[in-house]
Amino acid sequence: MLIKCPWCGDRALQEFSYQGDATVQRPAEPAEPTDAKWDDEWYQFVYLRDDPKGWHDELWQHNLGCRKHFKARRNTVTHEIADTGPMNEELKGGDK
């Protein structure tokens, strides 16, 4: 694969590390710290994944390059990459 780092451009797969599903959201912490609270929201965040067959928004780190994390929309069947972008940008393309 050749992955487009949003900063460094097209780079070989071996420079990157895959960092998981970009769509899971870390639950918000309560305003006031409380005792540990393990609930469905945390369970889902830590353990459950959509694991889609097809387009997948995911995280990669350019760990042997600029070391930045970024998002990629990649097809898990064909490995095509429709778009990559910094964390704060919306991804485009694919049929999502």
């Binding site: 694969m1 797969l13 071996q14 590390s17 895959y18 998981g20 599903d21 393990w38 369970y43 889902q44 830590v46 353990y47 459950l48 994944r49 959509d50 694991d51 889609p52 067959k53 997948h56 995911e58 990649r74 898990t76 069947v77 064909t78 490995h79």
Partner: protein
């Protein structure tokens, strides 16, 4: 079923083998079954067989979207072992070893189970500690385990490099009764034996939906129409997330891709199975002579059954480090399989929140060796509507309660298991 034997082979040779019958039928699906097994891979076929054999449930269909045994049972590195540390795994896999030992005779199909020993190499003191800890657990659990010195390992695998290497070998944990089996034969043997007991094998039939009413499953929609069932068990390995999505469930599973490869066939050069965690490589030699080996998954989610080059390079490099003489052999074929990597590296065999729907998933790297035990326990779970004792820690809700079975101890990063 026409018995296979050297005599039947001789008899048929006289007729130029023109009178052999098909190993299994290819029936049209009935409108309803007592049990439908979704997934005609090793686990699904084994489940159907044990449902019939152990629980007397024969009105069973195995529904397979492609060809029988076309998933991971067709594309693994054939290793069979039960060298686990955690209790929740140990007894389960050891049951598997019991079944493996008699499998050829039980199925009347030679699956070529070859208990030639599985050696895990330790490349540093910490690994010696960890492997001895594991070996001791195995022994106290009644599982065969031996510690091997470097010299003993050298004797068993003379071409193994132990000294002139970056990470020298300190010793190894051997499970003498572990080994390999002929992977395709396992699927075919189960299919033939299940067919003989009345199970319908429905190939080229894809499940497209699940009919669930009032929290109970009534059957599955397929490309050959709706098929009713009192119970449905799903054993679809790399497609677990997809199939359970039809039931509205999200799983603690990601689908990843594992590559494996073979060299050209050569005369016997390795008589045991060698695995090295430090080098990320496991290797054995097939009866045909090919070195069969693999390593890590490709690390990114994939349903592709085809991987990329960095991992191939990595695995071959590790293999050559372990066996510098094999550097001159040639890599003949590489392939990929998709596996359902669970969040703790351990499978799930359980009921689901949906009545009469059962799950068998999350096999990570380890599905092939588990085939008999998985079928055994899953059949029990379906027939009795409760988990078998041996798989009682492989529950679906263990992630929620914190009772994870994390052999590698890497936590909820499925690509690290």
């Amino acid at each position: 079923m026409k018995k296979y034997s050297v005599f039947s082979l001789a008899r048929n040779a006289l007729d130029y083998h023109e009178n052999w019958t098909e190993a299994w039928r290819s029936p049209e699906p009935k409108p309803e079954y007592d049990v439908i097994i979704v997934g005609g891979g090793g686990h699904g076929l084994a489940t159907a067989y044990y449902l019939a054999k152990e629980h007397g449930i024969t009105n069973v269909a195995v529904i397979e979207k492609g060809w029988l045994g076309g998933g991971n049972v067709a594309r693994n590195t054939t290793i069979v072992r039960s060298n686990y540390q955690l209790e929740g795994n140990a007894f389960f896999y050891e049951k598997g070893m019991d079944l493996w030992r008699d499998l050829s005779q039980d199925l009347n199909y030679n699956v070529m189970f070859s208990p030639r020993g599985v050696i895990n190499l330790a490349h540093n003191d910490a690994q010696v500690d960890a492997f001895q800890r594991r070996g001791n657990t195995m022994r106290l659990n009644g599982i065969d385990a031996e510690w091997m010195t470097v010299d003993q390992i050298k004797k068993k695998a003379p071409l193994l490099n132990t000294e002139n290497m970056r990470y020298p070998v300190y010793g190894g944990l051997c499970q003498p009764k572990g080994g390999t089996a002929r992977h395709d034969a396992v699927a075919w043997g189960y299919a033939r034996a299940a067919d003989d007991r009345g199970v319908d094998m429905i190939q080229n039939c894809e499940v497209t939906g699940m009919r669930i009413e009032n929290g109970k499953i009534l059957g599955v929609e397929t490309t050959k129409g709706f098929i009713g069932a009192k119970k449905v068990g799903v054993a679809v390995a790399g497609h677990s997330s997809q199939v359970f999505q039809m039931a509205g469930m999200r799983l603690p599973i990601e689908t990843h891709l594992l590559q494996a490869m073979v060299s050209e066939p050569v005369k016997p050069a390795l008589d045991t199975v060698i695995t090295s965690g430090a080098a990320h490589c496991y290797i054995s030699q097939s009866d045909k002579g090919e070195l069969v080996f693999g390593g890590d998954i490709d690390f990114y989610n994939s349903y592709a059954q085809r991987g990329n080059y960095p991992i191939i390079e990595h695995v071959v490099t590790a293999m050559c480090e372990l066996f510098p003489a094999f550097s001159r052999l040639r890599l003949m074929r590489t392939w990929g399989g998709v596996m359902d990597m669970s969040m703790d590296g351990t499978p799930i065999i359980d009921k689901t929140p949906i009545d009469s729907l059962y799950i068998n998933a999350g096999w990570c790297y380890g599905g092939f060796k588990a085939t008999p035990a998985s079928g055994w326990c899953f059949a029990h779970t379906i027939a009795q509507d409760q988990p078998h004792d041996l798989s009682s820690e492989m529950r679906l809700n263990r992630f929620e309660t914190g009772h994870t079975l994390d052999e590698k101890g890497v936590g909820s990063t499925p690509n690290m298991h």
